[in-house]
Structure formats: structure tokens, C-alpha cells
């Protein structure tokens, strides 16, 4: 009962308020009669019209039953109704150039008579209680629809960004596709475990004979590997107002994608770890696709580098991830370098025609 009463009270208040508002010009007198908000003066509309408009009143663009002219205006223009416009306090009245001069030319007055009659019929229709009710219902629907739409959107967003919970698992199939489609977002921001490793992409430019040897089971030498991530990172540290971090981001993102997949796979990974064979199959299949995509882009990045630094005979590129872990807190003053760990990604045919980054032209490993 309390809920219904509150709703009726709210609805009643809103409806009464809406009766005096706004989509049409009938709102202007209500606005004009209200006290000014936030220090902005609101004069009555008939006081804000330009002086010459008083001579043009013809009753065709009347605002509604509450629009009243001042005494001086009524005396100046012997019309039964007042001409006011929806442009209201903005100055120039709408459609002013189309108005005939009033009162001085009877022929023009006769021409305007049918239009005036049509306007009065229209006004009567507009002011019919059914029309008024429909208009108010329409406005109320807009207000309620937008407000409830916003609430629903925010609830979906909160459900989307929260960690995996039983409730979220139940509605994940609904929430995730909807929010991901129009408001994808992820705000873990260095949490729960902050990145504690320096990652680099190592590249080796391989000529056609070398590639043949590798295809026949030969080993890649440990020399001539170029770290193409670290120069960008160090340049970004020196020059914050430059695009070096943007150039580095595709490398880092694709390396993580190649080795750990996407953020979406975490729940499947946990399910697989708990023994679900279906989850393991799904994870391995999706990971295979991720790795193909990531390897393609990393190959393009490496090919661009090889041709930019002058290895014009590059036929293939070998890729490797290097990880240098951050020292733990207990060894923070230890000046000895951390031991790097390398992980092979593979050897792929080079992609020709990729634009150079214009960063590595003077690169010296």
C-alpha cells in the first residue's frame, strides 16, 4: 500500500508538473509565472516581445488559455487573443515574416479568417481532455522510460564489471553479450595482482637459406636476436609526449594474448583446473584461435622491423618472448640483474609491405 501511495503521489505530482511543461509552447506562461531559479530572471513572455510585435497580433499562433497580454498591449492591438511564440524569451518570434499586418487591411483580414477558424478548431482538439491526457501520458512515458532505461543500464554495467559470482554466472549469458556490445569496459587497473614483469618481444630476421635449415630441423642460434620492445619503453620513459607507448602496446597486448588468451577465458580456465573436460576442450580451442591471431600480428610487427633496419633479404622472422621478473620487496636493494626467461613463439614467413614505424631506422642492437 505504501508503495502504491508513493507511486500515486509521485505520479500525481509529476503529472501536475508536466501539465505546465514544455514540449509545446503552452509551457511558456507557466515558466514565465514561476519565480526565477539560480538568479536568472524570467520575465513574462509578453513583456519580452519586441515592440513591433504588438501590431501583428492575429490570434493564429496563440499559446493557450493562460497566455494573457498586458493592459498596454491589449490597448495597442485590438485582438481577442495574443500572439506569442514557442521561441519565447529567445527574442525573434517564430514565423514572423509570414504574418499579415493586422487591422489595417480588411482584404487581408478576410484572407486570414479561414486560417484563424482552422487554428481555433485545432486548438479545441488539442485542448480536448483525451488529447491532454494522451500528451501527458506520452511525456510521462518518456520520463519513466529514460529513467528506468538508465537504471537498467547501470545495473547491467555493475553486474558486468563485478568479479565472477554465483549470481553473475547465472545471468552471464544475458549480461555479457549486451554490455559488451555497447559499453564494453574493464576496470581492474593493476589489480588484483599488478604486473610485476618486464616483457619484451625478441625478433630474429632470417634469410631464405636459414629458414630452409630451420624447416629441416636446424636450430636457431642465440645471436642476432633483437629486443624491439625495450627501446620503445625506454624512449617512453624519456619522452612522455611521444607515441612510444602506443607503438609498444600492440606488442605487449599480443604477447599476453598469445600466452594467456583473453580475460574472458578466466572462468573457463578455473573450470578446467577443477576438472571439467568440456571447459578444457573449449579453452584449448579458443586458445588456438587466439594464438593464430596474435602470431599473425606479431609477425607483421617483426617483419616491419626487419625491413626498416635494412635486412632486405628477410624471408622469415623468428619470435620469442623475454620475461624479466621484478625483484621481490625483500631484495629491492639488490643491484644484481634479474635472470631473464625466454619463451619461443615460433618462426613464420615474413609479411612484406607493412609500413615502417619510423622509430627503428637507427636501431643498433
Amino acid at each position: 500500500m505504501v508503495g502504491i501511495s508513493t507511486y500515486q503521489w509521485l505520479l500525481g505530482g509529476a503529472t501536475r508538473r508536466l501539465g505546465r511543461l514544455s514540449l509545446t509552447s503552452s509551457s511558456e506562461p507557466a515558466l514565465a509565472q514561476r519565480p526565477a531559479r539560480s538568479g536568472r530572471p524570467r520575465e513574462p513572455l509578453w513583456e519580452q516581445r519586441p515592440a513591433h510585435s504588438a501590431q501583428r497580433s492575429c490570434g493564429l499562433w496563440t499559446m493557450g488559455p493562460r497566455a494573457k497580454p498586458s493592459r498596454s498591449r491589449r490597448l495597442a492591438a485590438p485582438s481577442t487573443s495574443v500572439w506569442t511564440t514557442s521561441s519565447g524569451n529567445r527574442g525573434t518570434p517564430r514565423g514572423a515574416s509570414k504574418l499579415p499586418a493586422y487591422g489595417h487591411d480588411r482584404a487581408m483580414q478576410r484572407e486570414a479568417a479561414p486560417m484563424r477558424r482552422a487554428a481555433s478548431v485545432l486548438r479545441a482538439v488539442r485542448q480536448h481532455w483525451v488529447a491532454r491526457l494522451a500528451r501527458r501520458a506520452f511525456r510521462m512515458a518518456i520520463l519513466a522510460g529514460t529513467a528506468s532505461g538508465l537504471v537498467l543500464h547501470l545495473l547491467l554495467t555493475v553486474a558486468y564489471v563485478l568479479p565472477l559470482t554465483p549470481a553473475k554466472m547465472k545471468y552471464e549469458g544475458i549480461v555479457d553479450p549486451v554490455v559488451r556490445a555497447y559499453a564494453d569496459q574493464k576496470w581492474s587497473l593493476f589489480a588484483p595482482a599488478p604486473l610485476a614483469v618486464n616483457e619484451s618481444l625478441l625478433v630474429k630476421c632470417i634469410s631464405e637459406p636459414e629458414y630452409g635449415q630451420v624447416r629441416n630441423g636446424g636450430q636457431l642460434g642465440s645471436d642476432a636476436w633483437a629486443d624491439i620492445t625495450r627501446p620503445l619503453v625506454l624512449a617512453h620513459r624519456d619522452k612522455r609526449l611521444a607515441p612510444y607507448d602506443r607503438l609498444q602496446r600492440p606488442q605487449g597486448a599480443r604477447l599476453r594474448e598469445f600466452f594467456t588468451g583473453s580475460y574472458d577465458l578466466i572462468s573457463w580456465h578455473h573450470a578446467c583446473a577443477k576438472g571439467s573436460e568440456e571447459a578444457c576442450r573449449f579453452e584449448s580451442e579458443v586458445m588456438r584461435l587466439y594464438r593464430v591471431d596474435a602470431a599473425n600480428v606479431l609477425t607483421a610487427i617483426a617483419s616491419s622491423f626487419c625491413f626498416e633496419v635494412g635486412h632486405s633479404n628477410t624471408f622469415a622472422v623468428a619470435l620469442r618472448l623475454r620475461e624479466i621478473p621484478v625483484k621481490p620487496w625483500s631484495r629491492r636493494y639488490d643491484s644484481s640483474p634479474s635472470e631473464p626467461m625466454d619463451f619461443d613463439i615460433g618462426t613464420f614467413p615474413a609479411v612484406r609491405g607493412i609500413a615502417p614505424s619510423n622509430v627503428f631506422a637507427s636501431y643498433r642492437p
Partner: protein, 299 residues
Amino acid sequence: VIRSTFDRLLHEPLHRSGQRALQLALGAMICFRVITEWPAISYLFGPHSIASIEPSVSSYLAAKAFSTDFRAHATLAIEAGLASCLALGFATRWATIALLLVVKIVFARQPWILDGGDNVVGVVLPYMCFLLPARTKNWHAGIRVWLHNLGVIAIIAQTCIIYWTAGFYKIQGSMWTGGTALYAISQVDLFSTPLSSAMFKNPWIVTICTYATMIHQIWFPIAIFTRLRPLWIAVGTMFHISIAILMGLLPFSIIMMGMEWVTLRDAEFAYLGRSLSRSRQFITRAIRLRPSLARAGQR
């Protein structure tokens, strides 16, 4: 209370100064991005870029907009132009709608260079389409004002969601609760400077800063509805300035400062403006007085 709130939402556009601050921040951030990325457009976005390897990721519009080098440069130039309009307050509503379209195209073309700041832009731009134009001085109470206020509420709610989620994830991490998370981040070359690497080796600094970050983020959605709001915004602004300098995440910091400033009311902006004006007058007077004092001392 409900009725007066409803009445207010229908009649008075709220947070107009905060809206301008956000538009300024977002426009500045996108301009900064485009200007800095300009030399590398061919490599990042062009028809022979590293993004061209994966045409399936790009939408149809993105493929068309970046089909030649000229088009790629033109698309980014249009993005910067629209962002400038937004920052300068010129035709902000149309600029926002057009910018939303262009930003979606650019993001679809190269999603792998995006950071948290770009994520904020993609989420908040649809809300900004409902805001009243920046230069509108006279408004009619009704649907437009209602939608403006809903847009402002959505932006503030989104800011709260960002902070609360980030804080919520942080309290689950052992390095955050252990107080050493900022040390670990400061040792990663990409997010550090020599200064921050050395600074966060101090146990007091790293513990205080790590806990302050968590407390600020978790309490943000509550604090901005209390008298602590100006303090929280001031701390947040300092926090993002330090992120920009120490971690190098400049676009993210700019847009997040804009998101925070939306939560300040117009009266608070006016008070801030008066305070700045008073302090400027005080400094000017002090500078003028100094020579006269010196002359008096000579006599």
C-alpha cells in the same frame, strides 16, 4: 525529497561547469593522442599497417575510413577537429555525436593500442550526447533538461563504478593488502621513472600510497555524496597528476580528472573561481607593493 529532486531534474540543468570541464578534458586528451600519434599513423592505422593483418576485427566503416593513407590521416584529423570543437565549447552536441562515431571507427581499426583512458572515452561519450550544448544560456524546462540531467547522473555513476570496481579488485590482491603493490608497479619499466623506482623502495611511502589508493577508490562513491567531496576530488586530482608524471599514463589521467570534476557542483566551481581570482589579486597586489616597500625602505 523525491518530489523536489524530480522537480529539480526537470527544471534546472545540473553540473554545467563540470560538464564543461569534462568536455575540455576529453577534447584535450583526444587532441593529445592524435597529435602524438600523427607520425605513426601509417604504421598503426593505415592500409599497410599492422592492423591491416586482421581485417575481420575492423568494422566495414573502419575498413573504408583507413583504405588509403590519405583517408587514414583525414580520419584522425577529423577526430582531432571534433575534439577541438568539444574542448573549445563550439557546437558541442553535434561534435560529441560525430566524435562518438569517429572514435568507434578508430577503436575498431586498432583495438590493441587502447588503454584505460580510451575505455573511459568509449563509455562516456554516449552519455555526453545528451548534455545541453555548452553555450546554451537559456533553456526551457522539460525533456531536454531532463535528458541532460540523466546524462550527468550516468557520468557520475560511471565514475563511481570505475573507482569502486578498481578498489574492489585491489582489496582482493595480496600485494595491495600487503602494501607493496606500488613498489612492484614502479619496477616495471613501462610504468615507471627512475624517481618512482627509487621513491617506492621506501617502506613508509609505499605503504601509505598503496593504502591511500585503495581507500580513495573504494570510498569514492560514498565520499562524493558527503561534505568530503571537495577533499576527495582534490586528492583524486593529485593522484592522477602523479600517475601522469610517474607512470606516464597521460591520456588516462586527463580523462579521469575530467570525470571527477563532473561531480563538483556549479556553486563549488564558482567558489573555486572566486578563490583563484582572490589569490591572483593578492599576488598581483603583492608584486605591485614590493617596489613601493623597497622605496620606503630606502627612505
